[in-house]
């Protein structure tokens, strides 16, 4: 529940006051790693690189077992549109390609490439920086970003180049840099803003050039004043403070969600089913911006990311720069955690992250953080579900303005048509409703169940329609073939009859003669 005063909530409800998103919560932030400089993680004995690390289609491997690869060499090609290619995180040998668990709530696996580092970490000679990117065509830069396999590093892993497409009808006037990081525990973007300020700002300039935007806003939550200071100092040094504005936002979860941040900054809501560019903005995460800088100005594709390793079971929590594909067990070992008895691993923050079933899962592009929690902590959170007392707190905190308790009832009762009518698919699964629920109802879980079932129903419906079409086509074909056959038979009969008659007649003639 929000701490805003009665007056403020009154103003909100009447649509007055400063623009801000509705709802939200104030969870304890636990940003224990915020003041600590990040470290570079050593190379693990083997890297496990999943061949699909983004929303969209899987990639096709380009190298074979036994091949030697360089760091940054493309090892899997993306054919479909919504996809991002995969690059070798370091130089070494491809040992095998087989199914391995990936960070996914199902605990299922996907084809992964196992690479044994050779210790040299040689960068692919084909990786060349575009130093004079300011003079370059935006489309070329976008293609480089696409080829570098960059996806949203804030957790959603949506291919970045799609957000950079330019639409003549919807020109982007503002680039928003999302330095909010509202998830508890996570501090990787915070550290990037402090340690790689120049790179982040140049990355932002590249993004502005690609979409031809004139303005930029860097949004930072007011619990990171040092990051804002560092950015401001860097901006004034580069004389950018006229075009770029640094905005300190009130600390409130989920301020960092793209939709909510855009509403807070511009007062505009992205129409349902549309993209941020429809309100003229481009929103990028800090980590993604740094990756864009690396890809353009350094020429290195996305092979490394900053990961927050934290949680109440980690002895030495810290931020690590980790190569994609490093097994989590190895990463946790850097932070002093070796024994995983009675410990639950979360991939991402505690509000939106997934619980994983094993520590032998690799870090992927979307790994903002990995948290190790004591089982007792988790059990105290996921308690017995009581009946809903309809207190309405979920509706108050919902940043999408849904009615979570009624929506969950529909999902629980398999009334999916009603759930859709209550805008189930608008839910961003931020978890505010479950967080405030006095009855401990796992509302988000019900929504995920409902979404999955609805998707399954849609798939089955489509398959049934296709099968029906094929079956009808087959029946028509058989009918046509039968008709053809009948016609041919008739024709043959019509043609052969006189001959037979003639033959018969000759025979008869013969007999007669």
């Amino acid at each position: 529940m929000s701490d805003s005063s009665l007056f403020q909530s009154l103003m909100h409800s009447l649509g007055l006051g400063h623009s801000d998103f509705n709802g939200g919560i104030h969870p304890p932030m636990h940003k224990i790693t915020a003041a600590q400089a990040s470290e570079v993680s050593p190379m693990p004995p083997v890297l496990i690189v999943p061949l699909k690390q983004h929303i969209g289609e899987a990639c096709i491997p380009l190298v074979q077992i036994g091949d030697h690869v360089y760091r940054g060499q493309k090892i899997a090609r993306a054919d479909a549109y919504v996809t991002a290619s995969i690059h070798a995180p370091t130089s070494g040998k491809v040992v095998k390609i087989e199914d391995h668990r990936i960070p996914h709530p199902s605990g299922m696996g996907l084809p992964c490439m196992f690479i044994e580092p050779d210790g040299h970490d040689t960068i692919d000679p084909a990786c060349l920086p575009i130093v004079n990117w300011r003079e370059n065509d935006p489309d070329l830069l976008r293609e480089r970003i696409r080829q570098s396999g960059i996806v949203g590093l804030g957790g959603a892993a949506f291919p970045t180049f799609i957000k950079l497409l330019r639409d003549r009808h919807h020109p982007v006037h503002t680039v928003i840099l999302n330095g909010i990081e509202c998830e508890p525990y996570l501090t990787n973007d915070h550290r990037l803003m402090l340690e790689n300020t120049r790179q982040v700002i140049e990355g932002m300039q590249i993004l502005m050039h690609v979409v031809q935007a004139q303005k930029a806003i860097i949004a930072i939550e007011d619990n990171k004043p040092d990051a804002a200071e560092a950015i401001n100092a860097c901006l004034s040094k580069q004389r950018l403070d006229l075009t770029v504005e640094v905005r300190l936002m009130p600390t409130r979860y989920p301020q960092g969600s793209e939709k909510q941040l855009i509403e807070s900054l511009t007062g505009k809501q992205i129409p349902a089913g549309k993209l941020p560019l429809h309100v003229g903005v481009l929103c990028q995460n800090i980590g993604t911006t740094k990756a864009v800088y690396d890809a353009i100005a350094e020429g290195i594709p996305l092979t490394e990311r900053m990961v927050t390793v934290s949680g109440d079971a980690v002895p030495k929590p810290k931020n690590l720069r980790v190569r994609i594909g490093t097994p989590m067990r190895f990463v946790f070992a850097q932070c002093g955690l070796e024994d995983f008895d009675d410990i639950q691993i979360l991939h991402g923050g505690p509000m939106m992250g997934e619980k994983l079933r094993s520590a032998d899962i690799p870090i992927v592009k979307s790994s903002t953080g990995i948290l190790a929690m004591h089982t007792a902590t988790m059990q105290s959170v996921h308690k017995h579900e009581d009946p809903c007392i309809r207190c309405g707190h979920c509706s108050i905190v919902c940043p999408i303005h849904l009615v979570p308790n009624l929506l969950a009832d529909h999902c629980r009762n398999n009334q999916f048509d009603k759930a859709e009518d209550y805008h189930l698919f608008d839910c961003i699964e931020c978890g505010c409703c479950s967080y405030v629920c006095p009855s401990n109802i796992p509302l988000v879980h019900y929504f995920r169940y409902g979404k999955g079932q609805l998707a399954q129903l849609t798939r089955e419906r489509r398959f049934a329609d296709e099968s029906k079409a094929r079956s009808e086509q087959r029946e028509r074909r058989i009918e046509r073939e039968n008709a053809d056959k009948a016609a041919r038979r008739q024709r043959v009969r019509a043609e052969t009859k006189p001959v037979l008659d003639g033959k018969n007649s000759t025979e008869n003639d013969g007999d007669a003669s």
């Binding site: 009581d386 169940y449 998707a455």
Partner: protein
């Protein structure tokens, strides 16, 4: 006067009805169409009818029972029961795991008999060539198994895709009780 006015009213009503019949005329049997839309279109014939359309027509004309569609399972049966306004019936056959057919190509002799049997044209191949089943098109109806003279077609479990995985219901007592109650209502 009374007779006249009543007669006039009857006439007007009759005309309106006649126009309405014309205006809202629907071709075919709308109930059969609706039922057909609910069926999984596997064309498997397990209901005893040669395809989904004939079964839908039989159910619509109340010749066939509503619980004969095996691949559709309980969900389809309940949807049909709702539409027809009848009580749901238990399904005798056990709900099967989704399967697809698979040809062991080294044993296939290329006889094309399975191609002829497939109701959705999901098998490709020419005479004397190996036949292959298009896994995305196979409905798992098993109609190709019997015609095969060398018995080289297996039914395999449909591979589970990570993209198609969906969250189960929360494992809480409340969601379990709700489902148990619903099921006991349906089977009464």
């Amino acid at each position: 006067m009374a007779i006249l006015s009543l007669g006039g009213f009857a006439l007007v009503a009759g005309i309106i009805l006649a126009i309405a019949t014309r205006a809202f005329h629907i071709e075919g049997d709308p109930i059969a169409d609706k039922i057909e839309d609910m069926l999984p279109q596997t064309q498997c014939g397990q209901c005893g009818y040669p395809g989904c359309r004939p079964y839908a027509e039989a159910v619509a004309s109340e010749v066939a029972e509503i619980n004969n569609c095996v691949p559709g399972g309980e969900r389809t049966m309940i949807a049909i029961a709702d539409l027809m306004g009848v009580e749901p019936k238990a399904i005798e056959a056990e709900e099967a795991i989704p399967m697809i057919a698979f040809v062991r190509e080294d044993e296939c002799i290329g006889c094309t008999l399975c191609i002829k049997a497939c109701p959705v044209d999901a098998i490709v191949g020419a005479p004397k060539q190996y036949h292959t089943i298009i896994t995305d098109h196979c409905t798992g109806c098993t109609l190709c198994i019997d015609p095969c003279p060398v018995d080289c077609i297996d039914m395999l479990q449909k591979p589970e895709l990570i993209e198609h995985w969906s969250w189960p219901l929360p494992d809480t007592q409340r969601s379990r009780i709700g489902h148990q109650r619903r099921e006991s209502h349906q089977h009464v």
